[in-house]
């Protein structure tokens, strides 16, 4: 590869993960000032008592790519999303990202039961970086899409989990981020909304937004994602075209 084409190729990635490992200690108790004064504040790394949630992860995700992360519980899917999102630091290796990121873990994170659904929409959107004017402009459309127009003044506590998830997803459609890190955030929906969700994802399929989605829904991964990463007990089993990886994953599971 020529130097010129290498540099073009280099510019195309928005997420680059190189030889990343993440160690989690087993903490016995919280640190106290006394312990901090007598020895270095610890998150347990130095005693070696813990486990590697991820090891030897290598990824390069281009702008606009839609990538699914599949694997059993405890495979390291959430840890990887948090590492990419900057909420954890890698114990080993390097993670680089380009562009604004949004991490969504559970639809209700960022919502307050004591406020009304409308007030929550402003709060929720501001946490994820959407400016107030944009929320104001799209306020009615967001509630209409979620089929919650009559609930905009109701206290959030009176809405079911499914309704909150619909409101969160409807708001998400207006987020401005370049990279979306989604962690099974919208799995609990009825069949009617599942179809609406799919329509939204289909519209997103060909734009330049990058998605990294941890999911157990293999049909969704096939429909939306061009590439899939398969994690098993913190190790990278495969990272390739979705069809190919999912076939391996299904065969391994049978």
């Amino acid at each position: 590869m020529s130097r010129y084409s290498a540099s073009i190729c280099d510019q195309s990635w928005v997420i680059r993960v190189r030889e990343v490992a993440r160690f989690f200690p087993r903490q016995d108790s919280h640190n106290t000032v006394f312990r901090a004064l007598t020895r270095r504040i610890s998150n347990g790394h130095e005693n070696g008592n813990g486990f590697y949630a991820l090891k030897g992860i290598n990824l390069e995700i281009a702008k606009g790519e839609k990538v699914a992360i599949v694997g059993d519980n405890g495979a390291g899917k959430t840890t990887l999303l948090k590492l990419v999102g900057g909420l954890y630091r890698p114990t080993v290796g390097q993670i680089e990202t380009r562009g604004e990121m949004v991490l969504m873990r559970g639809a209700e994170i960022g919502m307050v039961d004591e406020l009304s659904a409308g007030e929550n929409l402003f709060l929720y959107s501001s946490i994820y970086g959407v400016d107030r004017e944009k929320v104001k402009r799209n306020f009615d459309e967001i509630f209409e899409w979620a089929e919650l127009t009559s609930f905009s003044r109701a206290r959030l506590a009176t809405l079911s989990s499914g309704m909150k998830a619909r409101l969160a997803f409807s708001a998400l459609r207006h987020f401005d981020a370049d990279i979306f890190l989604l962690d099974e955030a919208f799995s609990a929906v009825d069949r009617h909304f599942e179809k609406k969700y799919q329509e939204v994802f289909e519209q997103q399929r060909n734009n330049d937004k990058t998605f990294l989605i941890a999911t157990h829904d293999l049909e969704f991964a096939k429909m939306f994602c061009t590439k899939t990463l398969w994690l098993e007990k913190g190790r990278q089993k495969a990272f390739d075209a979705t069809e190919e990886v999912l076939n391996q994953y299904i065969v391994a599971g049978t």
Partner: protein, 209 residues
């Protein structure tokens, strides 16, 4: 001796005491609340990408509005008590601003520390109990005398702020410009330093929650 330093020799003692208590209570409550804000909202702190200082500063801002309303009550009580109010009370919002800067700096530092060492809450509670006695709230500044007492006063920014409010409301005189500017400079530098420290440790908050 103690009695001679309190009610008997201080003019308008009720208002004097009220101002001291309002400002101390604001400082104590606001910093104590902010101390645990990152931990009590750990679902948000540990799972969403956003500047975490927003949680601390929004808590201290809400408390500063409460302080401003309490100071208005102090002014009303002063008027009812027969104190001739002067136009200089219009400078009170500046005292509230200085107190907001001070409380925000301390809160950023404490909320960050609380992530790493959870017993800092107990230590801060004990410090606040000491603070009420080493700040001239119910006694006159002269009670602390020279020597160590003078140094305690010099190093206590809350004592300056309470003194500023008393000067504006009870004495009806403008605050000493040099002292006010010096305090603004010191609290601003403290705020910038604690903010920087907060941003340095922000990327590891999730790991300790």
């Amino acid at each position: 001796m103690f009695r001679s330093q309190t009610g008997q020799t201080i003019e308008h003692y009720a208002v004097y005491l009220l101002i001291g208590l309002v400002q101390y209570t604001h400082f104590a409550n606001s910093t104590t609340r902010a101390l645990t804000v990152l931990y009590s909202m750990k679902h948000l702190t540990g799972n969403a990408i956003f500047p975490k200082e927003v949680l601390v500063l929004s808590a201290t801002m809400a408390d500063t509005i409460e302080l401003a309303l309490s100071m208005l009550i102090c002014v009303a009580v002063a008027a009812v008590s027969g104190i001739a109010l002067s136009w200089v009370i219009l400078l009170l919002p500046l005292v509230c601003l200085l107190q907001f800067i001070l409380v925000s700096s301390v809160s950023l530092l404490l909320s960050c520390l609380y992530i790493f060492v959870r017993d800092i809450g107990h230590i801060w509670g004990a410090f606040l109990r000491v603070l009420i006695f080493i700040t001239p709230i119910f006694y006159d500044r002269s009670f602390l005398g020279e020597g160590l007492g003078r140094w305690i006063l010099l190093l206590n920014p809350l004592a300056y702020l309470i003194n500023f409010s008393r000067t504006l409301i009870i004495d009806g005189k403008p605050v000493d410009f040099v002292s006010a500017m010096l305090l603004l400079l010191v609290t601003s530098v403290f705020l910038l330093s604690t903010f920087k420290l907060f941003k340095i440790y922000e990327p590891v908050f999730s790991e300790y929650l």
